[in-house]
Amino acid sequence: MAPADGAALAPRVRGTRRFRIRRPQVVIGEAIVFVIVLAAFLAPVIAPYPPNTVNVADALAPPSTAHLMGTDYVGRDVFSRVLYGAREDIVVVVLITYIGLTIGVLVGTVAGYFGGWFDAIVGRIADTAIAFPFIVLVLAIIAVVGPGIEGIAIGIIAVGWALYARLARSEMLSLKEESFMLATKALGYTHRRAILRHALPNLIRTCLVYSTVDVVVNLLVLAGLSYLGVGQQQPGADLGSIIASGQPYILTAWWISTMPGLVLVLFGIGVSLIGEGFTESELTVSTL
């Protein structure tokens, strides 16, 4: 790291020396997320049955050692379907969340850095995107492009970027006043270098912390729309559509809908716990 880099000026990440207190809730959150993600990605290895193989003779069997989460109305193994479904949901949610984050952070940072008309236009577009109730916009997009993951992804990204753009912009505005950012100007760095090397590492943290909330929200929206039947189409399964498929049998075969829901809830709790650990340790340290 050459001193000419200006690295000496810039606290690379605001508070690199900040010690993070590892709270038990963060560890629990990480454990939950790790187990679910691992199981989901090892679905082809772990799953005892192929997810879409019908076995009518075994339909609506309650949970047992043979079928951990029971079977559904055509005898498909719910546990296997949940594993594959979780994989599908996690991949989609992570992709759309972080595509939105990338777009939003770049746009917001540039807008905050330069200000002026670009900032004004970005600001108004972001305001508008945020004003739309999320699900309503996604449904409107689905009305145009037809049911499926694509519509949901477009819709979520179309709103998601705006949240990060706002966040990154306001962070950028306060960073701009800090001495190390002023120094990049004095040293005659290109804007590109000032933004990418010096501003971004400092503001990305806030956005990443926020993204833990966003992942949960997006997961719920995705699952909700799949449940409504406009997401993943049959026979492919994600958690939302498995829950929907079990709804008619909820009295006789409660497990079909309940089990995938529990996985969703657990995953959401895990991610939230991680996010909370972030914000809390940040808060406690910065207020001392």
């Binding site: 108004r124 577009i125 305001d127 508008t128 995107a129 945020i130 004003a131 739309f132 109730p133 999320f134 699900i135 309503v136 916009l137 449904l139 409107a140 997009i141 689905i142 009305a143 145009v144 492009v145 037809g146 949960v216 719920l220 929206v221 699952a223 909700g224 449940y227 409504l228 406009v230 939302g240 829950i243 709804q247 909820i250 009295l251 409660w254 809908s257 309940t258 829901g261 969703l264 809830v265 657990l266 995953f267 959401g268 709790i269 991610v271 939230s272 716990l273 909370e276």
Partner: protein, 315 residues
């Protein structure tokens, strides 16, 4: 003050126009022919052309946008394709259950959330604070449709306390049929109420004037109810107003789960049947509700908080 009002209202108008533009662009500028998608693959070119003319889609785009906006403003946004009814009457028939459901959810979130936030703010880091945090985290991670199903199973199908689906008009009927979805909706919003109120209460509670009031011998109860809440409630209301969008999204899903004939289920039907005029109208309406409410919240805050002065807040 007036200056601030005007500026804030100006932003809202731009947002409203933006909403209309986005909704319009979605249907009219997206590649592919919406009329063809609507009529299906087997429609003849003549049928497509006739439908296009009937919907006014052959006119210049600026013209179409103009009449779209005018239709919204004049309260007559045109005719539904699938239902063969004016959109205005379709929506007005179904607005009441949706409105009541949103109110129910808000009331649940506020009534449950306020005490949770207050007690956890007074003793930060205490057992109650941790318990509340855990509870709201779980409530937040709960998918509304799934929680709705589980509650319906429990209170409707097993205990027979409440109806599982449908909507009965009249006071008692509405309350009974909206209780399950209302509680679910409220729980999903709970985390926002509790976090915002707790945070702004913490901020006020650590202010020096609170210490000065303790020095005067005031009880914690008096300090919290008479002084802290005054300052802490407004930011929470603003945040709630912005999150009405979240509630509206929740009702769309919950109306499906509980088969409530509201605007949300109308939107869903319209999406299924590709009834573009209805989709456009509902989308703009829902956005407009959010825009107008957050405008009102900001103005109310400016009026109520003696410190907010000219341009002190940007939106």
């Amino acid at each position: 003050m007036l200056n601030y009002f005007a500026r804030r209202a100006g932003i809202a108008v731009v947002q409203l126009l933006g909403l209309a533009l986005v909704a319009f662009a979605l249907i009219h500028l997206v590649p592919g022919n919406p009329v063809r998608t609507m009529l299906g693959a087997r429609a003849t070119p003549e049928q497509v052309a006739a439908a296009t003319r009937r919907l006014g889609l052959d006119r210049p785009l600026v013209d179409q946008f103009g009449s779209f906006v005018w239709g919204l403003l004049s309260g007559n946004p045109g005719q539904s394709i699938t239902f063969a009814q004016p959109i205005a009457s379709l929506i007005s028939e179904r607005i009441l259950p949706s409105f009541l459901l949103i109110c129910y959810g808000l009331v649940v979130a506020i009534v449950v959330g306020t005490p949770l936030a207050v007690f956890s703010a007074v003793r930060p880091g205490g057992a109650f604070d941790h318990g509340t945090r855990l509870f709201t985290t779980v409530a937040f991670a709960m998918p509304t449709f799934w929680l709705g199903l589980v509650l319906a199973l429990l209170f409707g199908l097993k205990l027979h306390w409440l109806p599982v689906a449908g909507y009965t008009s009249g006071f008692v009927g509405a309350i009974r049929s909206l209780t399950l979805p209302g509680v679910v909706l409220g729980l999903s919003l709970l985390v926002i109420v509790v976090r915002t109120l707790r945070t702004s209460m913490r901020k006020v509670l650590t202010a020096e004037f609170v210490e000065a009031e303790r020095a005067r011998g005031f009880s914690t109860f008096r300090i919290v109810t008479r002084h802290v809440m005054r300052s802490a409630v407004m930011p929470t209301i603003t945040v709630l107003a912005v999150n009405v969008g979240f509630l509206i999204g929740g009702t769309v899903v919950l109306e499906q789960v509980f088969q409530i004939p509201g605007v949300g289920s109308l939107l869903f039907l319209a999406v299924e049947h590709r009834d573009y005029p209805v989709v456009e109208t509902i989308a703009v309406m829902a956005g407009a509700v959010v825009v107008v409410l957050s405008l009102l919240a900001d103005l109310a805050q400016a009026l109520m908080d003696p410190r907010v002065r000219l341009g002190a807040r940007t939106v």
